[in-house]
Symmetry: C2
Subunit: 185 residues, 2 copies
Amino acid sequence: MSHLAKKGCRNTRNLDESARKVILKKRLASLCKQAEELSILCDIKVGMVAFTPGETKAFSWPCLTQTNATINEYLACDEAKQQIKLFTQETYLQRKVDAREKYIGKIEQTAKEKEMENLFNQLAWGKSIQELDARETKGLLKLFEAKQTKLNERKTKLNEHVDENVLNQNGVNDSNAGEENDGNP
Amino acid sequence: MSHLAKKGCRNTRNLDESARKVILKKRLASLCKQAEELSILCDIKVGMVAFTPGETKAFSWPCLTQTNATINEYLACDEAKQQIKLFTQETYLQRKVDAREKYIGKIEQTAKEKEMENLFNQLAWGKSIQELDARETKGLLKLFEAKQTKLNERKTKLNEHVDENVLNQNGVNDSNAGEENDGNP
DNA sequence: GAGACTATACTTAGTAC
DNA sequence: GGTACTAAGTATAGTCT
């Protein structure tokens, strides 16, 4: 027995990894013990999380599942709710939301386009232009515009050599729409 | 001074609310002190959450924002990740994901329907049935089916009094589709 | 309510098994 | 690596200001 170190001192100068591991285990245990005592004594919920950054395994108290439940309850608290937005930006759940949100934007656009193309076709089939509401009209105008732009690009490319024959062969739908169909068929 | 109670004893028999509040504060402080000491000594991250169920304000350590960050990191750990699915089912973020997922399902269906209606109209406009792929063909068949069902319902309602005149007046689109357009126009 | 005090009980680092 | 021990150090309930 070396009498160089005093017993019970909280010096902890020698920080070799193995010793630190022992200390960690001991104190973590007593920390949890105190937490449990307090939670029983004062009838509160306590959750604890501890981990060394970089490691995949995390320590949690009272246990993984219960700590998660406690954390969820905690996150549901008003105060936490206001803050959580700022700090969950990078969690996998938030990323999931973001990704889905992006997808929704895309698919909504697609649906809108399809609806307009649809209306466009229905117009040709006999649906009266009087039946369209403001949104539909706006969308259709946009579609007309797009089709016209496309057509104009094509015209420029063909550089004045476009005649009715070419239009009839390659662009039945487009040419019908953009220029001649101002009213009902 | 009443000498009935010993100093420093952890009996805590008298649990009147005000005394308990004092105890809670004291011990919570020391608990955090120990947690901090440990986190520095062993270079680990510690997060703590404590609250009385039912109250809106939660206690957290080291502070609300940092605890949230720690919890997020903790949730990102592999071990927690596997479990979290089961226990975040009811959190607002998961609910958000669920709601969006539901919406996506709905809008995807809408888009698909619109696309099919579109194809249907395009067919009438001259697109060859040879150009359709398997998915489109399947979707169109479904659309035809739906339209035919709708038509049959109408027919039943009118109960044998339906003649060509009525069809021409009320159901131009539907009647054209469901029965006569088996090939190209 | 919030500090300061204090006797008592508890925790802890180091050590030995 | 785990348990048991112990001296030194710390936390705590009660009390007073």
